[in-house]
């Protein structure tokens, strides 16, 4: 066991971890940030996406120790400072981009990373970018729509509700 320190959602945090402890388990169990989810054991589902030093990372692919000293942002840190939903979160609610909510934290984190690099993605670009995020509930329709809407594009022409 070693003590690991990192900045999470703007706050200095520390906790105990074994060498083999994954970042996702550290966040969930040591820091009690359970918004980041675990949906698989082969790094395929994207339920665990967080930002590490500004990059989207699957938190199940990284040891907690590797994030020593890093800036980590999880879904708990995505709302506006006043607690209201961010533009992306609000777009997901407005366009019904979530059902059971289990994939949602990963989707929000991936969407934020996409829009940072590509502020006006096409439908095809959104779909391609989400390749590593599995959702079983929505058939992706409203997720893609929400992300395009969050980028400021008019989605009213997208196939009816």
């Amino acid at each position: 066991m070693a003590t690991i320190k990192m900045t999470v959602n703007g706050r200095e945090r520390s906790g105990e971890a074994e060498g083999r402890t994954l970042l996702v388990d550290f966040l969930r169990q040591e820091l009690n940030l359970t918004g980041t989810h675990v949906g698989c054991d082969t790094s395929q589902c994207g339920a665990c996406v967080v930002h590490v030093n500004g990059e989207a990372v699957k938190a199940c692919t990284m040891f907690a120790a590797e994030a020593e000293g890093a800036e980590v942002v999880t879904v708990e840190g995505m709302a506006n400072p006043d607690g209201s939903l961010s533009v992306i979160q609000q777009a997901f609610q407005d366009h019904h981009g979530l059902q059971c909510g289990f994939c949602t934290p990963g989707m929000i984190m991936s969407a934020a990373a996409l829009l940072k690099d590509n502020p006006k993605p096409t439908e095809a670009e959104v779909r391609h970018y989400l390749e590593g995020n599995i959702c079983r509930c929505t058939g992706y329709h409203n997720i893609v729509k929400a992300i395009m809407a969050a980028s400021g594009q008019d989605v009213s022409a997208v196939a009816a509700e």
Binding site: Q29, D41, R136, T138, G139
Partner: protein, 789 residues
């Protein structure tokens, strides 16, 4: 004008806020003081005799608190089958015991035979690996035809792998055979309804807790129906008195059927919690989910359609082998029978239907209801063989369907498979589909695809399903061992806001938003002041949970009935307050008014009076304002729809892409159109997944070769298009108070045949005489079909 509140409004979901900010509380998110962790030891062979289990090394490992094996549970009950099916000869089905942990034999890869409890999850897993079991591998059987042919037997004590041989309707068999013998045209199709893994994104998880001070148990678990889970554990498995067991299903990350059932892990964590006096938790890895969640579908069917040369249907006859896996999961015997055979007349006036289903034990994971459950299998068989018949007879696929549709003036209509469809308008759905899917523009689009070197096909489907499961009387006659009502309690608080406790469970369906729309509309108050409580047996009335598109049709009806009772009682109180006779008091828009006067009191004032009953008619009305209703439906509901799919096939690679997808559904009245559309989208995604991508493959030794997201092709965002969905064709259900039918499964039922019909149409247009390809219609299968035909 779309409404902005109440019934019919696309109200945004209130539950979203917690999910979007990471504040959902799923089972694995709940930490209890002093908790220990369980890990399971699972069979690596599909079939084997357990000769010995040596736990001595594991016991000495750090952090280990207890070890359980099958031996510890021989004296407790088994996980039962919820539905008794009798074979054609009257013999009851075979029901081998399904123990908490395997004992004597393991019967599929992943079958748990031991469990370790330790201080941490890692320690539990490490110790589980140190358990040395001597398991003699036995020959396994995974293929249904081989399993029916004889040994090896999955369960030696029953000396057959056939669970039952069911006929529906047996009395119609001779007439159907005769009709087919004499028919001018018979189309035959053999097909496989591919086995699927439900893959809710949240893996199953359970935490057991025991309070030695009170003798109370609590189970936190990923369940679609906490009361049913409690009943099964109490009455059949562990014998814990129901009043000593609280089952909490908190936020649940999708179910699709796989979380209806009780699983052995739930019993194990409860037994371990009792033994240790500490909470014991377990969360499945995705690999465990693949191996042990109940799978779906897995039918092999031969269907015959007999018809006149003009396309008039004379008879459907099917023979199906349905895989039930190694043990009977709770509803695995209902799925291929009463949720499948009873729908084998489709939307059609066909006079003869006969269905034979043989359920087969194999050395594979149990198979049970998965989104649609039996109805996708029925629809796929019917709608594929109709397309093939149309092609053979040179008829238009839409025209042949329309020719045989039950017409609007024929309802209520008793189908040849025995169900009474209360209402529908299948022609209207087809009209809508032709318009929205722009069939008129297809020829142009096909030309454009061909110019780009692609083949383009258009496939349609019209489906009917039986939802709102189910009338208890009817299912009782048919073999169900449970009732299928639901329940709601409407509690008006003194300050006028409302808590509604419901038996339905929301794991993505948006009940927390939709149910208040109903209550708000009925009481004339803002739905925001109504809260839904669900998922905790200590808080809610005894309800049967959510599956079979039943939440709104059954539990929603209970909510309506309970709200009506609240209004009736409030009216009595209002009459007293207004010094009027009850008969003269009218309730509208949240106010009680004496008819023909301006004397009125608001709902809120009445609520307050109910809890501060000064000057109250105590001799005729009790204080308080809280009512419960149980609702048992009179019939199933019958959603129906027309679906169209357009695909492009790349002749070079065989790859199929879905270019357009249109779904027109009749769900009866709709409470929240946004949520309904979302349900259809999700179903279509799963249906296209089944048609093009997903397959669950066991090799001949019973190893699951598609056991991770590397090998099992889950639909991803770039496999799917935007969909056009419509639910404007409405024939309100005739027998429930809201006129609603249920929308959760439609997409998964309606889409697979539309996709496969489209692929066949594309190949035919390219001059390939291909009449069938089994799902998933993968590039290699398409390529092989094109190059062999």
């Amino acid at each position: 004008m779309p409404k902005d509140t109440g019934i019919g409004a696309s109200t945004k979901r209130r539950e979203d806020v917690r999910f979007l900010t990471g504040r959902g509380k799923y089972t694995d998110d709940i930490q209890l003081t002093g908790q220990a962790h369980a890990a399971f030891v699972r069979s690596q062979v599909a079939h084997g005799e357990i000769l010995s289990i040596d736990t001595s090394d594991a016991e000495k490992m750090p952090g280990v608190l207890a070890i359980f094996t099958g031996e510890d549970f021989v004296d407790v009950g088994g996980n039962p089958a919820g539905w008794l099916i009798n074979s054609r000869d009257g013999e009851p089905m075979k029901e081998p015991k399904r123990p908490v942990l395997a004992h004597g034999k393991v019967r599929h890869v992943g079958d748990a035979y031991a469990a370790v409890i330790a201080e941490t999850a890692e320690q539990a897993r490490d110790a589980a690996e140190a358990i040395a079991a001597d398991i003699k591998e036995l020959p396994a059987v995974t293929n249904m035809a081989q399993a029916l042919a004889g040994a090896p037997f999955v369960h030696d004590e029953i000396a057959t792998n056939q669970c039952f041989d069911w006929g529906w309707i047996e009395d119609n068999r001779a007439a159907t055979d005769e009709a087919i013998r004499n028919a001018p045209h018979v189309t035959t199709l053999e097909l496989v309804n591919n086995r699927l893994v439900p893959n809710a994104m949240e893996p199953r998880a359970s935490t057991g807790d025991y309070d030695p001070g009170t003798g109370d148990y609590t189970l936190y678990t990923t369940s679609q129906n906490p009361h049913l889970t409690r009943l099964l554990i109490s009455a059949f498995v562990l014998g814990i008195p129901e009043n000593k067991l609280r089952v909490i299903a908190p936020d649940v990350g999708g179910g699709f059927g796989s979380k209806i059932y009780h699983y052995g892990e739930e019993a194990l964590v409860l037994a371990a919690a009792k033994k240790l006096g500490r909470p014991v938790r377990w969360t499945a890895t995705r690999s465990e989910s693949f191996l042990t969640d109940a799978h779906g579908r897995d039918h092999v069917t031969k269907i015959e359609l007999a018809c006149e040369k003009d396309g008039t249907f004379i008879a459907f006859r099917t023979e199906t082998m349905a895989n039930v896996g190694a043990y009977l999961s709770n509803f695995s015997t209902a799925t291929p029978t009463f949720l499948h055979g009873t729908l084998m007349a489709g939307n059609y006036t066909v006079p003869n239907v006969y269905v034979n289903v043989k359920a087969v034990f194999t050395n594979t994971a149990p198979v049970d209801a998965y989104r649609g459950a039996g109805r996708p299998e029925a629809t796929y068989s019917i709608e594929r063989v109709i397309d093939k018949a149309a092609r053979e007879l040179g008829l238009d696929p839409i025209a042949i369907r329309r020719k045989n549709f039950v017409k609007p003036d024929q309802f209520p209509f008793t189908s040849a498979a025995g169900l009474e469809y209360d209402i529908g308008n299948y022609d209207a759905l087809m009209d809508k589909l032709e318009e929205l899917a722009d069939f008129g523009g297809f020829a142009e689009r096909r030309k454009a695809s061909e110019a780009a070197g692609k083949l383009r096909g258009l496939g349609i489907n019209s489906y009917i399903e039986a939802c709102g499961i189910a009338p208890s009387n009817l299912v009782g006659i048919l073999g169900s061992r449970v009732g299928l009502y639901d329940a709601a309690t409407v509690r008006v608080n003194a300050t006028g806001n409302i808590s509604v406790m419901v038996g339905a469970h929301s794991h993505g369906q948006g009940h927390e938003t939709a149910f208040p729309q109903v209550v708000g509309e009925m009481l004339g108050i803002d739905p925001a002041s109504v809260d839904i409580v669900h998922g905790d047996t200590s808080k809610i009335p005894f309800g049967m949970g959510s599956y079979g598109s039943r939440s709104l049709a059954v539990c929603g009806s209970a909510v309506v009935r309970a709200t009506e009772k609240v209004i009736a009682k409030a009216k009595k109180i209002a009459a007293h307050m207004l010094e009027a006779s009850e008969a003269d008091v009218e309730f509208a828009e949240g106010n009680f008014t004496v008819a023909g006067t301006d004397k009125s009191v608001s709902f809120g004032e009445v609520a307050l009076k109910a809890y501060i009953p000064h000057n109250f008619p105590l001799d005729s009305v009790e204080p308080g304002l809280e009512e419960t209703a149980f609702y048992d439906p009179a019939n199933f509901t019958y959603p129906a729809g027309g679906y169209a799919c357009e695909v492009e096939v790349d002749p070079e690679t065989g790859k199929v892409t879905v270019e357009r997808f249109t779904a027109c559904d009749d769900f009866g009245n709709v409470i929240n159109p946004m949520i309904v559309s979302g349900q259809v989208h999700g179903g279509i995604g799963q249906g296209i997944g089944q048609a093009l991508l997903e397959n669950t493959v066991y090799d001949e030794n019973g190893q699951l070769t598609s056991a991770s997201y590397m090998d099992y092709a889950m639909p991803r965002a770039d496999d799917l298009p935007f969909y056009t969905v419509d639910h404007s064709c409405v024939t309100p259900c005739t027998h429930n108070p809201l006129g609603v039918k249920g929308c959760g499964e439609a997409g998964a039922i309606g889409s697979p045949p539309a996709v496969v019909n489209a692929v066949i149409d594309a190949l035919q247009s390219g001059g390939h005489n291909v009449t069938h390809i089994d799902m998933p219609v993968s590039p290699s299968r398409v390529w092989a079909a094109m190059n062999n035909a």
